[in-house]
Symmetry: C2
């Protein structure tokens, strides 16, 4: 039986080189967009609309419905929005049945690049085991699409890619011939016993530390806090449970 | 004293994100362009003209001078050229004082991208220690520019980047805040005891194995076969000795 392919795309700028119009794309922006999405669904959000620009997000404000508006640029909340990108805002709020409109520096942009030609799901450490199990059930090639930081390579998304690659390769159903896939696995293997320590000098952890949100980093690196798989249907993320 | 910056650019497609108009750029295409360049100079070549297209290279043929014309696309020699990209062609030939005109799939393209705004030198495992020493003497920031494979990330160039990063960081003169720099160092550290084995499943080693040129791979992974530093002056590579 032909094995399934796993590619890792390290930044949005490279996505066109990996896109094949048939793989399932797992979009990853560990710090913090896709972590926030996973926990939002865990806490009961019903729909999440990822948009690329602040202007698009603002149009929803004037739409008359009771949206939760989330906008982050350069790590900070955008003025006049309900929230920035912290996953922890969903913890103490009753968000059951509500719709979130979200725009972030990297994550929502990546979703909107991938959706043109591919089925899209959202991954983070928070739903790691669930998304691995869900992917294994699909008989499909996979592209793990790291959102990076402003088109640059980043460590945290690549580590997540390696963690997911490890689980997929354990099944023997997948082929491992992509150089970026192999690299992500080596990085994960080195980092997995102390993710927070490994990311000590990483550019984005330092960016967030300056904003005093190290607790978000700890939160986003915790594996398996939810079984929810955010799946894009049209332009809207909805959720599937991986039981 | 402010530390010098080291960035690793993993593919030509990302170079614009790292370019700063002031760093020295070390172009790396381990398999095989920059290895060939280093050994060509070691064997006495006086000048090497890297051109981006086969057509440009052919213009030199009609120029009347006694150029050695080298052209590679997709791992193979281009028809009607003297040689492909193998570094081993320089071993048994008298090339003293001659000029090579070279075009390759990735390496020469990267040199021509970098030269627009940066000083360019050429690195490979064959001149690893020499280029590290030479860089340390310059009081400049460094971008290690991996040529990759058709704009994709590749392992072998990133491993070389990691090897060079290790030597530069040992001096305590350089800062290590770029995520790609940190990743390359981790990969190098994992691979360094058995580079050939580590690259077993890499895409380009497999591409070359199909062409029966595994011996080139062994050749290109040998460290410190020359002290020559190919340096770009205008559009021509010439050589500096690092003693």
């Amino acid at each position: 039986m032909a094995k399934r392919n796993i590619q890792v795309c390290m930044t949005p700028k490279l996505f066109g080189l990996y896109a094949d119009k048939k793989s399932i794309v797992v979009v990853v922006d560990v710090l913090r967009a896709t972590s926030s999405m996973c926990i939002a669904f865990e806490k009961g959000v019903e729909k999440l609309i990822p948009v690329s620009t602040v202007e698009e997000a603002l149009e929803y404000r004037n739409g008359g419905r009771d949206y939760i508006l989330v906008a982050e640029r350069n790590g900070k909340a955008v003025k006049s929005f309900d929230f920035g990108n912290s996953p922890q805002v969903y913890l103490d709020m009753d968000v059951k049945g509500r719709t979130v409109v979200m725009t972030t520096t990297n994550g929502t942009k990546s979703i909107n690049i991938a959706k043109k030609d591919h089925d899209v799901v959202v991954g983070s450490f928070l739903n790691l085991d669930a998304i691995a199990k869900w992917l294994i059930k699909q008989d499909r090639d996979v592209i793990i699409f790291c959102a990076g930081w402003k088109d640059k390579f980043n460590l945290e998304d690549t580590l997540f890619a390696g963690a997911l690659v490890e689980q997929l390769l354990d099944t023997d159903l997948y082929d491992n011939s992509c150089d970026a896939t192999q690299a992500s696995q080596v990085l994960w293997d080195r980092a997995k016993d102390d993710l927070f320590g490994f990311l000590k000098n990483s550019s984005h952890r330092n960016r967030l530390a300056k904003l005093n949100i190290d607790s978000d980093v700890h939160f986003c690196l915790k594996a398996n806090q939810t079984n929810k798989i955010p799946i894009l249907k049209g332009n809207v993320l909805v959720v599937e449970d991986e039981c």
